[in-house]
Amino acid sequence: MSSVSLQQLSKHYRLGSVDVPALSGIDLDIRPERFTVLSGPSGSGKTTLLNLIGCIDRPDSGTLTVAGVNVLALKDDALADFRARHIGFIFQNFNLIPVLTAFENIEYPLQLTGVAAAERKRRVNELLAAVGLADRAKNLPGQLSGGQRQRVAIARALATNPALVMADEPTANLDSHTGAAILELMRNLQRERRMSFVFSSHDPNVLAMADDAVFIRDGRITATEQRTPEPAA
């Protein structure tokens, strides 16, 4: 049973009258509870694929199943609710809401899914501790360093215990030292919480710690590697 399954997925962009093929005929299964990395040169289609898997974009053709749900059949509102419950996002630029404190940023997805206030507080504090920012709860994003912001963003992505966490080059805007620490944190959290992480990255360090690797070039998968065995059932 895979966490994400794609068949013959294609996506074109239209620039004026020209069709730019970004992904063509992608077949892919992403194993659950793994750290999967999409790797490929710039412009190969990593972000496009990640957006489709993350249900924030729609393909032109093909089928897409996420956590057992045929997400392409969902209407916009249902898809938004689906994302809120099942998918977490970590962005390259952190994308924290600037008027919300670290605590409130992490709390936001919990509010969206209707978690009661007391439970929200418990979970946010737990996550703040897990990412090492227990003393920064009341800080606004503007008062945090890049690495700290990305920790808050990671905590936000994990808040609803999603089946799938998507991250598009999450360390690209961090120095190598901080980036390494963030990677380590994500790797540990992924293992501890038994979630599926899907990354895109140029970074060889990221590739090195992946369970699975998917290599893309010109919108097609050129190779896949499974470096760890299926977890025991």
Binding site: G54, D57, F82, R83, N95, I97, V99
Partner: protein, 472 residues
């Protein structure tokens, strides 16, 4: 984190832009409220003037209003004393009434025959006590003292005339009227008709019963009596009064009701042309009208109070009797409406501009929230809430500023001359004490603000998530 505290934080994010938008709304709201308060003051001032002058309601002979003004003989109310008695005793009407007073209007010719001049005039016979009681009405608390009729305590043959009448009748000097240039032409005319025609003098002397004691301000008022024959009354003018309106100034002669009745009805039973009713509050007019209609319809089965069934009377309110009331209030309402629409338009564009800028600035944030699972409706709500909050803040500040400015204006001692007035009255704007106007303006502004936020909010909600996230 509820929608409004989030909206407030977002508004505080770009303080300068939010402040300029607020300022625009503040100016708009206070402008509407101040002008609204000014025009309200004018409406109520006019109403007070008319209610003091001619009451809220008048009972007149049916058709008198349309056909009878020149013919008091044919359209008089004969048993007016009984009718007044019925009205004053009526258990429904009595608690509402402040004054019930009769009045007799007549057309005639006033002549100063010692100077050989005359002119057509409009005479009004009034009950002085009733007239003074009418003047006490001040339901809207205007800082203007009630005027006492100059006829108060005067002789039965006393009269007050308009300054225009005084001018034509060459009584300016005797009555000490200012700004009253003597006409060039009258010298010739005087030579032609030096004295009153004998018959008129005789008639007058016979009526007055005391020929010879000629006061320098004596005039003769000539009118048709109830039988169509000419009759004359000798009057002693005690004062010339400016009326504020030239037509009235040139026509008005006010005399004691008794005197006017004698002139028109002679030895016959006296009548009046109108019974003036003044109520405690203008808001009681519909109730009073309804009760009058009931009384005029006839006695009800088993009713104890005598009704006025069979009397050919009809009721007119002050707005019908004074068409200029509706005209002036209508004009101010139109100007206020125009100003409100203009300001509404400005607010619409200001807020929608502000919100559009906010949407563009926060495009990535919109994409992020959508990715996290916020629905399109949630994005829309976010920005509409911001618009609404801006509107609410603008309205609140605008109301406060308007109240402050109104207070300053009301205490500045400014005066103005209302149409038809002779003396300037204090210029006041009614903002405090007009909760309906304040509420309407505030809700209107919030609606406009929410509406103008709606389009940018809709645009924000329709953004494609991936495009929004890629926005730089």
């Amino acid at each position: 984190m509820n929608a409004f505290s989030l909206a407030l934080r977002n508004l505080l994010r770009n303080r300068r832009r939010s402040l300029t938008t607020l300022l625009a709304m503040l100016i708009g709201v206070s402008a509407i409220l101040l002008f609204g308060g000014y025009s309200r003051n004018i409406d109520l001032g006019l109403e007070t003037g008319f209610v003091r002058g001619s009451g809220h309601l008048q009972l007149q002979h049916r058709d008198y209003f349309l056909y009878g003004t020149g013919n008091p003989a044919a359209y008089g109310i004969a048993d007016y004393a009984r009718i007044i008695d019925v009205l004053e005793r009526d258990p429904v009407l009595a608690p509402m009434l402040t004054v019930v007073t009769p009045r007799l209007s007549l057309g005639g010719i006033a002549g100063n025959f010692t100077a050989g001049v005359s002119r057509t005039v409009f005479g009004e016979g009034v009950d002085v006590a009733g007239q003074n009681a009418l003047q006490q009405w001040n339901d809207y608390g205007f800082p203007v003292a009630a005027q006492t009729s100059p006829l108060t305590g005067s002789a039965p043959d006393a009269a007050v005339i308009g300054t225009g009448v005084a001018r034509v009748l060459q009584l300016c000097e005797a009555l000490q009227v200012k700004n009253c240039p003597a006409a060039q032409a009258t010298a010739h005319d005087a030579a032609l008709g030096a004295a009153a025609p004998d018959d008129i003098a005789a008639l007058s002397a016979q009526e007055a019963g005391q020929a010879g004691t000629q006061s320098p301000t004596r005039i003769e008022l000539l009118a048709a009596n109830a039988h169509g024959a000419p009759n004359v009354a000798g009057l002693t003018v005690i004062k010339a009064e400016a009326m504020g309106v030239k037509e009235l100034d040139d026509m008005a002669v006010t005399l004691h009701l008794r005197q006017a009745q004698q002139l028109v009805y002679g030895q016959d039973a006296p009548k009046v042309t109108a019974i003036v009713l003044q109520l405690r509050h203008s808001s009681q007019m519909p109730a009073a009208k309804a009760r009058l209609a009931e009384l005029l319809a006839g006695p009800q089965a088993g009713a104890k109070t005598p009704a006025l069934g069979g009397t050919p009377l009809e009721v007119h309110d002050f707005a019908t009797l004074n068409p200029q009331y509706g005209q002036i209030t209508g004009m101010f309402a139109a100007i206020l409406g125009f100003i409100a629409i203009l300001i509404g338009g400005i607010v619409l564009f200001t807020v929608s501009n502000t919100m559009s800028m906010a949407v563009v600035e926060r495009t990535v944030e919109i994409g992020t929230l959508r990715a996290l699972g916020l629905r399109r409706g949630g994005i829309r709500r976010l920005f509409v809430c911001e618009g609404l909050l801006l509107g609410a803040l603008g309205a609140a500040l605008g109301v406060l500023v308007a109240l402050g400015l109104a207070w300053v204006i009301n205490h500045s001692g400014l005066t103005w001359l209302p149409p038809g007035n002779v003396d300037p009255v204090p210029l006041t704007v009614r903002v405090w004490g007009e909760p309906a106007m304040i509420l309407k303006t505030a809700i209107g502004l919030m609606l406009v603000a929410a509406l103008s936020a709606w389009w940018p909010a809709r645009r924000a909600a329709r953004l494609a998530i991936v495009d929004a996230l890629r926005h730089v």
